[in-house]
Symmetry: C3
Subunit: 648 residues, 3 copies
């Protein structure tokens, strides 16, 4: 695994560049991402290009032996372009234009901007496509950041109608698929279809789902245009894009399929503060992040990458600026995060950013260097990580060589679109059902891959569908021939591809592997539970008509888990103790050697190596069940400590 860094030469005097590059190399860094926000410097006026400074910057980095990852600057079109085409911006759900002044001020459906994005991509690629320093491209930056995938613009409306016409062919087919007879919502032509926002009350969920699919497709098509240009003009270089955390507005499986490599931007402390973690987690892990945040995304994005190539292109190196509160990482966490990515098979961990900016929106975002150019705490940890990587690689075991397959989670982006459109209960989200199920599997010490429907499942002992409302064609058949243990979570198989209820009710196609119908579903407010023996039914309860075994039954007779042959159905929300019990039983039946880990400790197995990570702020010992030769660290892991064992 290599180390990299994100760098903005345009923010600093040219005189600094060479020293910066040398300093990077000394730290163990070999890759530098640049250029992705530099449009106004590359093309200060329409058609007038100023390449000189960028030529120089690339040369300086090259001279220091650094490989350049060059970003296309399409996330930040300059003001003159917006003034030329004022309708190129996205429109929010309330109908307001989302204007210039920050970034991502464009609508994916605007034909004029698509053309301009192609033009500037081509200009970048023509200039640097064959430059020996340039070894990888990044398309744009963080598609969807600041809620920009979904736009309610005129351009989007027109494009949506075309997309609908392509998908449904006739308006009758659309009316029938969506059930538009309901509430007299029938259309007479595609030209009558508007976007689903600003209806009096909620629009048809099928309308929303189509619009979410369309919006995702627009991102993929926008990206595709850049990928095609870069492949043509920069042969032999990889193309990647940087995904965000806990983000589902476009289908990353679709995007990953057209890239060489999927990267993501890892900010564990910001994510902990801003997303759906408990107050206790937000307090206990305030300087570490919840122990599954980074790993979940490593495993998710590895599953999005066509050939399994992935990495972290932005790694938090200190406090950030964008969360509600912005604490500093516990000493050791920057190193821990780096090595955890290695354990999960990353090819790159790149820190964001080299030096903290003096000005503008991200001036409070830490870098490896302070704004005055002196070392920030992250720099030493990056250097230490570089040494650790060398030591681990020197042990003769390559972490990525021999994947250890244990459990696979099947996740689809559509799942989240379904639950976001129709949660039916407070805060119920398919993505988070996947996260909480993942957590319970990981607490057992299992390796977990998160895969798209259709992925080859051979080699796994266990498959989990935490919440998969729409079951793609063929999945039920594939699962029927899977001989390991299967856990199906609530709402799975409850929707057709067009967001209606299957004629045979839930579990729909999954009835082929589990003999049950969901006769009724209910959502339960916080505090309403059915207590079992050390677990409880909370938030959701599917009532089944089934001859399956009632494996977990609450004191008042409600069934939390049903079992039939090698399949379990979790009828309540897949989180907490009830999921822990189900996961442990399935792992046992699957013959997996679960190793219950202490609170906040996590394990990842890679070939013969076992990586252990201590997310707690106190030291903790490795469980006795794990034995081997110490490659790194000790059996007593300090706060933010790491150990690597080699199985003998």
């Amino acid at each position: 695994m290599r180390l990299g860094v994100c760098y903005y030469p345009e923010h600093w005097p040219q005189a600094n560049w060479a020293a910066d590059a040398r300093h990077m190399a000394e730290t163990g860094i070999t890759r530098v991402r640049i250029g992705e926000f530099a449009w106004s410097r590359v093309e200060p006026e329409p058609g007038r290009f100023d390449w000189g400074w960028l030529d120089k910057a690339i040369e300086v980095l090259h001279d220091a032996g650094l490989g350049v990852i060059l970003g296309t600057p399409t996330a930040t079109p300059p003001k003159w372009l917006v003034d030329q085409m004022p309708d190129m911006v996205a429109v929010d759900e309330q109908g307001r234009k989302r204007g210039f002044g920050s970034r991502r001020h464009y609508c994916f459906s605007h034909p004029g901007y698509r053309e301009q994005a192609g033009r500037i991509t081509r200009a970048y690629a023509e200039r640097y496509g064959n430059h020996p320093a340039v070894i990888m491209w990044q398309t744009d930056n963080e598609y969807g950041c600041h809620d920009t995938v979904i736009s309610y613009s005129d351009a989007a409306r027109l494009a949506f109608r075309d997309w609908l016409s392509d998908r449904y062919k006739t308006i009758d087919a659309l009316n029938s698929a969506w059930g538009n007879v309901f509430w007299s919502m029938e259309y007479r032509s595609f030209d009558e279809v508007d976007l689903p926002n600003l209806a009096v009350t909620e629009a048809n969920p099928a309308h929303w789902l189509a619009f979410r699919r369309f919006s995702s497709d627009q991102v993929v098509a926008f990206d595709r245009a850049q990928v095609d240009i870069l492949r043509q003009l920069s042969p032999g270089r990889d193309v990647m894009h940087n995904a965000m955390g806990f983000y589902t507005d476009y289908d990353h499986h679709d995007l990953g399929r057209q890239l060489d490599c999927v990267m993501w931007d890892s900010y564990p402390l910001g994510f902990l503060e801003m997303f759906r973690f408990s107050d206790a987690d937000k307090r206990d892990y305030v300087r570490q992040g919840h122990p599954d945040i980074a790993a979940f995304h490593h495993d998710l994005y590895r599953g999005c990458a066509a050939d399994g190539r992935w990495g972290v292109i932005e790694q938090q190196p200190g406090p950030v600026n964008w969360a509600r509160n912005n604490p500093a990482p516990l000493p050791g966490m920057v190193r821990l995060w780096t090595l955890e990515a290695m354990a999960h098979g990353a090819e790159l961990v790149s820190y964001f950013r080299w030096r903290q900016a003096l000005f503008a929106q991200e001036q409070m975002h830490a870098g490896l260097l302070r704004p005055d150019g002196k070392a920030a705490p992250g720099l030493g940890e990056a250097a230490q990580a570089s040494a650790d990587i060398a030591a681990i690689q020197g042990s003769g075991e390559l972490p990525n060589a021999e994947p250890v397959k244990e459990a696979a989670i099947i996740f689809s982006y559509e799942s989240e679109w379904v639950t976001a459109t129709q949660p039916q209960g407070e805060d119920l989200s398919a993505l988070w059902a996947n996260f909480t199920a993942y957590t319970q599997l990981r607490k057992l010490g299992l390796n977990v891959d998160i895969v798209a429907p259709g992925t080859d499942l051979s080699g796994y002992a266990m498959v989990v569908l935490p919440c998969l409302p729409i079951v793609a064609d063929g999945l039920a058949e594939q699962l029927a021939s899977f001989s390991g243990q299967i856990i199906i979570g609530p709402r799975s198989g409850s929707k057709t591809a067009e967001f209606s209820i299957p004629d045979n009710l839930a579990l729909g196609p999954l009835q082929a592997i589990f003999p049950a119908q969901v006769s009724r579903s209910e959502s339960l407010r916080a505090g309403v539970t059915h207590q079992g023996d050390g677990w409880a039914i909370t938030r959701w309860l599917d009532h089944l008509e089934s001859d399956a075994e009632r494996e977990l039954v609450s004191d008042d007779g409600m069934v939390a888990c049903w079992k039939s042959a090698n399949v379990r159905y979790c009828a309540t929300w897949p989180e907490g103790e009830v999921m822990a019990v189900i996961a442990a039983r399935a792992a046992h039946d699957a013959g997996l050697a679960a190793v219950p880990l202490p609170e906040g400790m996590r394990l990842r197995k890679a070939g013969k190596l076992s990586f252990l990570f201590n997310y707690r702020a106190e030291s903790q010992a490795i469980p006795e069940a794990l034995q081997g030769q110490m490659v790194l660290g000790d059996r007593l892991l300090p706060a933010a400590g790491i150990a690597v064992l080699r199985t003998v």
Copy 2:
């Protein structure tokens, strides 16, 4: 009392209809509501009508012996109509058009849409007005649902100016009535008056009150046009409309006056989750609903009906789809709700809906049948209720024959408009003051009617005005001649008809029956109380200048209740223990035999019958004070249990 059901033949194959109709009849159902969302099927293109399917559906229902309640489809104008008149939609308080894509996408003030609504109503009435199956009409559906009474459209502004000109005659009269000298708000002509939204800070409360009255009048006039057409073209049939729960944006007394019958839509579990109940109530009654939700509306809407004819046209039969959380009713609750409506004098309880839809917005809303056509739990309870009704009616006592009058609450819709415009304290609402006062009266086992100002009060032993800021002409005189006990709640008589302070201060005209002036009012944040003996002053405190007796005085000398002759003044918010004490004293003085009921048990007396309902999830015994012959059930009521006693 009859049972009915809401049915959407257009959602299902014609081949199913006959079997559905038979199945309904077997369940004990004799009424079916249809047609109210079917405009796009009846008139798929402008002027082209397709009646065939509806002719057939009505025939099939008729053949099964079912009476049809036919709804005009004006709540769901088709897309082609909206595209013809894009300005027919309502505009929200922020100025955004409320577009097509769900339902109720029209502004009550739009002249073009009024014409279209008349046209389609006439078409329905011409076709089916004399059909023997059609025994009742429903106008539109749930006026005001999704916050649609109040529209800030251009059409509304123009109509409002006309309305003002009719009401005030001269602009000087308006300026004077509203006190527009304040802050230089004076107008020179009606054409200068805008709607009260989007002012820099709050608009004149008199401006708001006029706009609320206007908005309510627009609903009544819109409805009136349909009523007139239906009465003309469908002689001998009843006309009703379906009201919602906890909804006050139009004056239901005004609407009720022009209808034959007032129906309402009863969703106790959804209402519990979405409205102002405590967390404890939301937990304890999660599967039952608060025990006063259904009864309060029964008693309220009975008071809105011209001749006291009312019913439940939509009864929750299982989980719904529209609340934040959607649990299933406790077994027995669907039957309990049905029989409680009977006890309060309903002529119909109709379940919503027959069969759960496979598609669109309400696909997660339960029906009596599941989406696959098999029986859902509600079906058996409806059948049981049908048998119970027969048994009760067979006892020789008709519940509605001899009303038992005990306490009357006087409520006006204007009260809520006043407190919503000027709450003066957090969450203070006249409607909810009525609800909490009602609850305390009901816990004493009293029959409570909720009536409009001006209703004949003879026969009552007790009258309660929980919060009546504007006292209509004549009411004080009427109360002066009332010889029973009177309770006046806070803010009553504190406003003139034009939302100013009476010259003689509060209690304004009520000083004729209670010798006091409110010299000062204060609102108290949660946690700020004046403790009394087992009760407390909370949320509101009126300070009185009065020689009346200080009946309830707090430890620190504040007066919670004043008494003069047969009238009490409750100077704090009429809820909880303090209202319980005041209600009990007044009931005692009124000579009413209060029967304090166990938590969650409720009583309704009808003729010689006493109905008891147990809303708790545990069994509870009927209090010893209640004796009689068991017509239904036992003295130990199970969870969700019902008993009927006959006084001998």
Copy 3:
């Protein structure tokens, strides 16, 4: 000190005026503010003036011996003016016009409205500029009330571009100052610059800061135009404006510089309810207000006044109408608030309003009289205060004669603009850092002045900068020559004048007096603390590189307070126990005789007089350390009690 009252003769029959004026005079009132909302009565139609009633009103007041403070009516332009220039209104951040119907419906940048404001001011001044009754003018009313300083109108955009051009001269200078190279935000001309709202995500903080400065300057310029007219046409009269509480949208130091006197509007109960006080404070002081609300503003606005002349032009006399909850003051509080203003040096306390209005928006706002004209509780307290003032003045000590200087807080309005734009942690506000620091100083019994940067500091023993991100030129030098104790709070010196990070990092220029660099800052969510000995680090932590002494170190080694020579650096948020400890140490080192006061008691020293105020609802004794001759009251202060001691 004089007493005054706000009066609206236009709301009452002329027949009442003479009696009202007599009644005021009998109460001890000598000043009356009128006219500030009367435009529609003075100019009922464009160009047609009706002065008769106002001539009469002034005459009547004059005849009763009352001095008139006349307000220009520009806060309430009449409807006919708005209809003439519909674009004169402000536009909110979401792009919605803020229309007629209440008050303050104008944009400070609109040239047409500026002209009209000048025209009506001139008309008022020509008519009454030399009237013997008129002794003072108020410009407009509460600039900024209802969030009206910042407008996103077209007029504002054009004016902003001009302002930018004046400030930066060239667009390159602006691009460089703001760091617009970041995210390609560079402009090619001033005409490309838009307002910072409605950007996709947050705009450049430098863009916001410039817009905040511009918006403040527009207010000052708007006011300046009126001041110039009034000075020209009404020679010898004072001009003042009435500021609000906890309000920072314009720079009150700038405004104060052009006025003769700064007045403010004091509503302690409303402010307690609506602003950032703890639930415990909101409960314990519900009828008194937090004991520092009034004093903080007295000391703040005295520091804004050019010659230190200030007063309270609107004093809460009972419950108000505009807070979430509106309790009544504890008996005695109206008197207490009045005398506390005297202790802090006010020249006037004027109650708002004389008589509670019968109609319109403020009908629930108490006056000295009830709506029916009888005395409200505030009237007696005003009369008592009048007698008390006479008694105190009769003691031979003029409170304002000899200011007692102890501690000075340095506050700038820009500080709050910086923290509001970039809080970096939840609810972190420079204004509130100043308030909480002020509270801790006051609990030690110290006199505290709140001054603008640049104010002469001679005479003070102690200077505190609770949170001063931008350090104005010259301040560091001034502090270097200050020999007393200095406390510097977090984030001070962390920003340049253009909202970037200083090249030498924080403390920027303050490194001249404190040898430290802030190497890293972190914000901490509620519940995350570093415990010290009786104090804790909460909400914020600056990590320093410094050789300074670590004066307060937490159990886990974090430094809460650093000390070097006469300067302390408070590295955590300056509130609660940690600020109490730091303040006490600095006061001790400064040689100030701190007198720790009982909870809720406050002290203000004026000349030889010591005023003591008991904000608790229970009686409390004056601390033994305070001795002297009783001028007013006793050593045991009752609830809401006052005592005045004379040092011998």
